[in-house]
Symmetry: C3
Subunit: 209 residues, 3 copies
């Protein structure tokens, strides 16, 4: 399935990239990076997850090197985050929605790409999740923070659950296009419900000294 | 040499993976990560070194993508670390032994794999060491700590010394299987002696301001 | 263009590697790493940028695995930094010059290598910059610091500007060898002027709470 052939998915993928770049730029502002540093963090937040997936499965040159629209989306994201701060604050809920759509799309596309490399569904589920969340892990790590997703929020879990659903539906013969839409909506729903009802995973700690 | 054909090495490699996953989970507990974060850290601790080696030499999809037993060993390690804390404390010495056997095996297997890619023995020695110790480097880095092995203990040094021994024995014509066993035992011995007699490398610091 | 065929560039590339290794070792001394940790940080500082570029474009085994002179330059750098501290302090300005020549060469060679993989000039400019500056990013990140180049100095910017100049001159038909020399001198000049006149990029921060 070539992404460029499915205009809606492709557009949403680019919008997800833009929103992730904005999120990276906001982190850079809090850390008082200069413009170059902000661009690097935005870039890594936006495409870091897909890049790690591509490297692990051996799909090189990595994806964003082959379609300049991703670079353009990131540059636009940095500029918007810097010059339109009032707008971004105003659109906070809209961005949450696009971020959530973004992880849904990144998960499914990452999973599908991994399967095309002849890799098992179990690993493909992990790679879908990596695609969606490891940009944020790299962003936090390079900003000298413990990655947020290691401690908070049902974020990666929504991606994992979505990946499992996708593989189950695939095995019972649901057509790819329907499966794609259903899984993305499922991930979005879990994420929204998790934020709405403050779901979180149990913290894991030692009971003994 | 296909690892799966040598049942003892293969079993020990899986046990090493399990023990490294337990070590990663213990770190995650100390940092109060949630279950997802603990799984990520356990995963990276267990297979991070071999993954970096595979990426550097161009062996993709990386190793653990092609044999689900590694994923199974990691999941089992996380569950054991969480539900069997008393047992793990009780088996502390046993785990030290398995961890030590683990770095011995990881070093030799990593070195051998690198050589099969037509890379020079000098670099293969480095890659053997990377296979054994970089999982821990990534674990510490993602937990926002300076990697332990940069400051303490003759750990990586045992791997380097073992790698040099392996290449020397290979050059004088010792058969691979004997060399494998001798080198692994050598690495284990150095590690145990180093801990027993508190060997450490000199700290390197500026003598001038 | 095979680097080994151009003795001056090849020599300068090795000298750049040596100087970067010295810089990494100095960081390790400040952090009180042991000798093994110092070697790892020196190694990553010296070849980390080119390694990330090679992995992203799919050039594996990565460059330094195929020419042991790079490993030799790094080992020499660590030894010099440790045993010749007075000399290094004395040669501080010389090292600044070699470091500056180093980023110029790393940028142009990284850009050229990326183009030979059929990747677009826009991405090649980024990869040239990554080659020059990401060794330092990894050094800082592994030392538990926020990467210096995210906050200070027109360092990466000189590489980006040089990369843009190179691509422009290439498009108007300037021969590769002339272009290489002109671009390297341009990057060196910008860097020296930036340090001399304290140029810096604006810090990016939130205007709103």
């Amino acid at each position: 399935m070539l992404l460029e052939n499915i205009p809606i998915l492709y557009s949403l993928d680019l919008i997800g990239t833009l929103v992730f770049a904005i999120s990276g730029t906001l982190t850079a502002m809090d850390k008082r990076f200069d413009i170059f540093g902000a661009f690097v963090i935005a870039f890594i937040t936006a495409v870091g997850g897909g890049t790690i997936r591509d490297i692990l499965i051996g799909s090189q040159p990595v994806g964003w090197m082959q379609d300049l629209n991703y670079l353009a989306a990131i540059v636009l994201g940095v500029l918007l985050a810097y010059f339109m701060q009032r707008l971004i604050q105003y659109l906070r809920r809209t961005f949450f929605l696009f971020d959530t759509i973004g992880i849904g799309i990144f998960t499914v596309l990452g999973l599908q790409k991994t399967l095309t490399f002849g890799i098992s569904p179990e690993i493909a589920i992990l790679m879908g999740t990596v695609s969606a969340v490891f940009g944020g892990v790299l962003r936090d790590n390079l900003s000298n923070e413990i990655p947020l997703i290691f401690r908070k929020e049902v974020y990666a879990t929504a991606c994992l659950a979505g990946g499992i659903l996708y593989v189950l539906l695939m095995k019972i013969g649901i057509p790819e296009q329907i499966n794609t839409v259903v899984t993305i909506l499922f991930i979005i729903s879990i994420r929204i419900l998790a934020v709405r009802f403050h779901w979180s995973l149990p913290v894991i700690q030692r009971r003994l000294k």
